[in-house]
């Protein structure tokens, strides 16, 4: 047996990360304490161990400052040490037992999750953080990733690689925004209706870009990755051109994005309410679509056939399934989803369109899809991983955090690489993905 195995590498990685975290937090808090003492701050605790990170859960829908429903005080250093010692112990166990596969994935997930958590409470040492807001942000930011991952999944499950999701999102955002502006102007309507029309157009635009991808890769059998790259380059040029030649000069009464849509009753539950039931429409749609897609893929005729054509197109062809036609439409459906993700940027978060405003989320979505092993629920898990890293880095910057923000911003990318490198177990893509079908 080889000495260095996956389990041992992962265990060693965990121990190193935990040790580094412990030392860093300890050193950082000591410095902080010294500084506070030097400045004679009244807030300085008696020792490093005296720093407390407070997590609080506010009463839903009350202005900031209202007394919270609950406050969880965590001694910063104590909690960090406790978690890190646990992680080190588990890492040592992995090294000693050296399992073939079992437990490795769980350990890596725990390592990532706890690292995020440690960073959070480290950042808020001596301060407090709104837990409900942190979690609801994670859900909100996961919207384009979740939708993008579903888009990728529908394509790849049917055998077409789609790295053009980014471009589809961008074009969707651009045309959706234009549609909302134009319709608002024509009918002189400033309300939500033009914005909803924009969402519809965004979805359709995503579909049209996807149809181009499908055309190039299915009909003309261009390498699917190249075809996706073409979509991305095209999207940048087209949307940039439209923005400078049209959007900026166009005046419209529509100015607001989609409204908040708190679900009556449910949104009043502390913690759960803000996290799940107080969002804007596209976020709900995303959450529902993840569930629906899971059912569609594994329980319906469409799903069965989709899985078949991505795995063994010839088998599907011989029982009369029109492989290329179905692939075409699945790619288009993927485009619809990507277009909806685009609408999130331009019509839900803000009401505006900027060049390159999707900022690479389409690529991250693909990573989330691979992370989730091509299943909708798994892919959404991946999306949550990225969105929590993102939410975390936004959150902790406000606390004058010791670590340069660039390093926190790197975190999701590093995690993706680690995950792709197979530490959680090898992800097996649909067998026929990337291969044009030609009977």
């Amino acid at each position: 047996m080889r000495f260095i195995t996956r389990a041992r590498a992962v265990g060693a990685l965990g121990i190193v990360v935990s040790l580094v975290l412990m030392l860093a937090v300890n050193a950082n808090l000591s410095t902080k304490l010294a500084e506070q003492r030097a400045a004679g701050s009244a807030k300085a605790p008696s020792s490093v161990w005296g720093y407390v990170s407070q997590l609080y859960i506010p009463e839903p829908k009350t202005p900031p400052g209202t007394p919270p429903v609950a406050t969880i005080p965590l001694p910063t250093l104590g909690t960090v040490f406790f978690i890190c010692v646990l992680l080190i112990a588990a890492g040592a166990f992995l090294i000693a037992r050296n399992p073939e596969r079992r437990g490795i994935g769980g350990y890596v997930s725990a390592l990532i999750g706890f690292t995020f958590f440690v960073l959070l409470i480290w950042a808020v040492a001596g301060d407090r953080v709104d837990l409900a807001d942190t979690l609801s942000r994670v859900v909100r930011v996961s919207t384009p990733l979740g939708l993008g991952a579903l888009a990728g999944l529908v394509c790849e499950r049917s055998g077409v690689v789609n790295i053009g999701i980014e471009g589809m999102m961008l074009t969707g955002a651009c045309f959706g925004y234009i549609a909302a502006l134009v319709v608002g102007n024509w009918f002189d309507a400033a309300g939500q209706a033009p914005v909803w029309f924009g969402v519809l157009i965004a979805v359709l635009t995503g579909g049209i870009m996807a149809a181009l991808h499908a055309l190039l890769s299915i009909r003309f059998k261009i390498d699917q990755i190249i075809s996706g790259t073409v979509i991305n380059i095209m999207a940048v040029g087209l949307t940039g051109y439209l923005r400078s030649n049209f959007i900026i000069k166009y005046d419209s009464p529509v100015k607001k994005p989609l409204n908040d849509l708190p679900i009556p009753g449910l949104s009043d539950i502390p913690l759960l309410g803000p996290v799940l039931f107080n969002h804007k429409p596209i976020t709900y749609m995303m959450l529902l679509l993840v569930l629906i897609m899971h059912v569609l893929l594994f329980r319906t005729v469409w799903g069965l056939r989709t899985r078949a054509i991505g795995e063994h197109p010839k088998a599907a062809d011989t029982v009369g399934i029109k492989v290329n036609r179905m692939r075409f439409w699945n790619v288009v459906i993927g485009g619809f989803l990507a277009g909806l993700a685009g609408a999130w940027f331009a019509l839900e978060v803000t009401f505006r369109f900027d060049d390159l405003m999707t900022n690479g989320q389409g690529f991250i979505a693909l990573a989330a899809m691979i992370f989730g092993k091509w299943t909708p629920l798994g892919a959404y898990g991946g999306a949550l991983l990225f969105s929590s890293a993102n939410a975390l880095q936004l959150k902790v910057q406000n606390y004058d955090f010791a670590l340069a923000p660039q390093f926190l911003q790197m975190l999701p990318y590093v995690v993706t690489i680690i995950v792709l490198a197979g530490v959680i177990g090898k992800a097996r893509p649909p067998a026929a993905v990337g291969e044009p079908y030609d009977h």
Partner: protein, 511 residues
């Protein structure tokens, strides 16, 4: 016979591919309840004809009648709708779906927009009972043995209520016993009024099961025969167009020192499943050890583990006493191991490369092909010309892409390349699969010539006949282990067949 309307009638079907006349005015009839065998060499046009019937190719000329009615079959669904089912040589099954899902794919039952899994399950159970085709409905197809997968394929056709079934080389991956079981099922189906087209190149099987035989050669029907009035020899002559020597001529072996020694070898496949358990064997200089066994019983992994293409999880491989277990393929090759891989196009050749380039695929880095830092084209070119001449590769030029040659000539490139080195061990895996008879003869002779020159030969073949006719000793693999090793004289078809099916006999032990 004239009063029965044929279930299927084909008239003057012609299909051309660029430069090739694949089917040349083929006509035949298929009667209800009949097993009609199509016999022909590889490349005789059988598969093209069947693909036309099944709507995968459009014929250039000719007509098809089903139950007396002229039809055009545009695609497989047309074919299925007209009651025509087909089991391909390579199964059209999705490994990651369950048996039931595979069977209902394309004609699913729905309830409330979802697949009605319960009813589908019942239906599969019912069919499986009715025709004696036992399958586990909820297992993933990828986890099943090939024999069971074939039953799934047949069930798939039956589920679609076909009354004509095309079986394309169905026995290629079966043990003789499994094949006999299949013949029983075919009989049963025929008795229930289903018509079966049975495609094969194995004479014995045709005689065993067919009601009628049509022989194809070079895209044409060269004759029909009645199994009761035919012999293997007469059919073979018809099939090949000349009297063929079915037996390979070879003298007795003169085994020398042990060249290859495998001890307790085990390996995992890419999914991490152990597919090779504790295999031990030895091959001596000047003998052919034939490995018989149904495809997928660990032969591939055994060969890959020996040649260094796949790491062994346990065990040792020694070449002339030297441990080569952990060596890289290149180091193993350099020690005098020649290897004809089973997958000619996927592994043995780079199809886009020229013949000359393919001829130096494993020696390009050595002098005279490389001197200093650069490749020497003159040396590569001379080498190619020489081998083309010696091994009778039929090609317009050494600069022709390997992919545009016939299978037999492609295989000759591999043989030429591998035999042109100084070898102590030759591993030949399925060396004659899918090539023409002329090339088969040539390659068989070359292997025996190597043996006689003192090379140890490990021959792996799914064609039992090939193993029996070439090998001096026969080892049988089953479920990743060698279940028996027999001298050629004791290796009868029946005995080996039983071993291949996993039926243990008293004298056999593991290894």
């Amino acid at each position: 016979m004239n009063n029965v309307i044929p279930a299927l009638e084909v008239r003057d079907i012609t299909k051309r591919f660029p430069g090739v006349l694949a089917n040349d005015h083929i006509s035949f009839t298929l009667l209800p309840g009949e097993i009609h065998a199509f016999l022909g060499e590889n490349g005789a046009g059988k598969s093209t004809l069947m693909n036309i019937l099944y709507g995968l190719y459009a014929p250039d000329e000719g007509q098809i009648f089903i139950n007396g009615e002229a039809v055009t079959i545009r695609n497989p669904s047309d074919a299925i709708a007209r009651g025509l089912g087909m089991v391909h040589q390579e199964y059209a099954l999705v490994d990651t779906l369950t048996v039931t899902e595979n069977i209902i794919l394309g004609t699913e039952l729905q309830k409330n927009l979802l697949i009605d899994r319960k009813r589908a399950h019942q239906e599969v159970e019912r069919l499986s009972q009715e025709y004696g085709l036992i399958v586990p409905p909820d297992s993933l197809v990828g986890d099943l043995p090939v024999g069971v997968q074939q039953r799934v394929e047949i069930l798939k056709a039956l589920y679609r209520r076909v009354n004509m079934l095309i079986l394309d080389e169905p026995t290629a991956v079966l043990t003789p016993q499994e094949a006999d079981d299949l013949f029983r099922v075919m009989r049963e189906l025929a008795d229930q009024g289903k018509s079966i087209i049975f495609i094969t190149h194995k004479l014995r099987e045709v005689l065993a099961v067919a009601d009628r035989i049509t022989v194809l050669r070079r895209g044409k029907v060269v004759g029909s025969a009645n199994p009761h009035e035919s012999t293997e020899r007469s059919l073979a002559a018809m099939m090949v167009g000349r009297e063929v020597v079915l037996q390979v001529e070879k003298g007795p072996a003169h085994p020398g020192e042990v060249v290859l020694e495998v001890e307790g070898l085990a390996a995992l496949d890419d999914r991490g499943v152990q597919v090779l358990n504790d295999v031990s064997l030895e091959v001596r200089a000047g003998e052919v050890l034939g490995i018989a066994g149904v495809q997928g019983n660990g032969q591939t992994e055994l060969v890959q583990a020996i040649t260094g293409l796949q790491p062994a999880s346990h065990g040792k491989v020694r070449l002339k006493g030297q441990d080569i277990t952990a060596l890289e393929p290149r180091q193993i090759t350099a020690k005098g191991v020649a290897y004809i891989p089973e997958d000619r196009k996927g592994t043995g050749l780079v199809l886009d490369y020229t013949i000359a380039e393919n001829m130096v695929l494993s020696t390009y880095y050595k002098p005279p092909f490389t001197q200093g830092l650069t490749l020497k084209e003159e040396a590569i070119s001379e080498h190619a010309d020489e081998l083309i001449e010696t091994f009778d590769v039929r090609t317009p030029s050494q600069l022709t892409a390997a992919g545009s040659l016939s299978g037999g000539n492609q295989q000759k490139i591999i043989v030429a390349r591998e035999f042109s080195r100084d070898n102590v061990l030759l591993i030949a895996s399925q060396p004659t699969r899918g090539i023409d008879v002329g090339s088969i003869e040539f390659i068989h002779k070359s292997i025996i010539a190597q043996r006689d020159a003192g090379v140890a030969v490990l021959l792996v073949s799914a064609e039992l006949d090939e193993v029996l006719s070439l090998a001096d000793r026969v080892a049988v693999m089953y479920h990743g282990s060698i279940v028996a090793t027999l001298p050629a004289a004791e290796a009868t078809r029946e005995r080996v067949g039983l071993l291949m099916a996993g039926v243990q006999q008293e004298e056999t032990t593991n290894g």
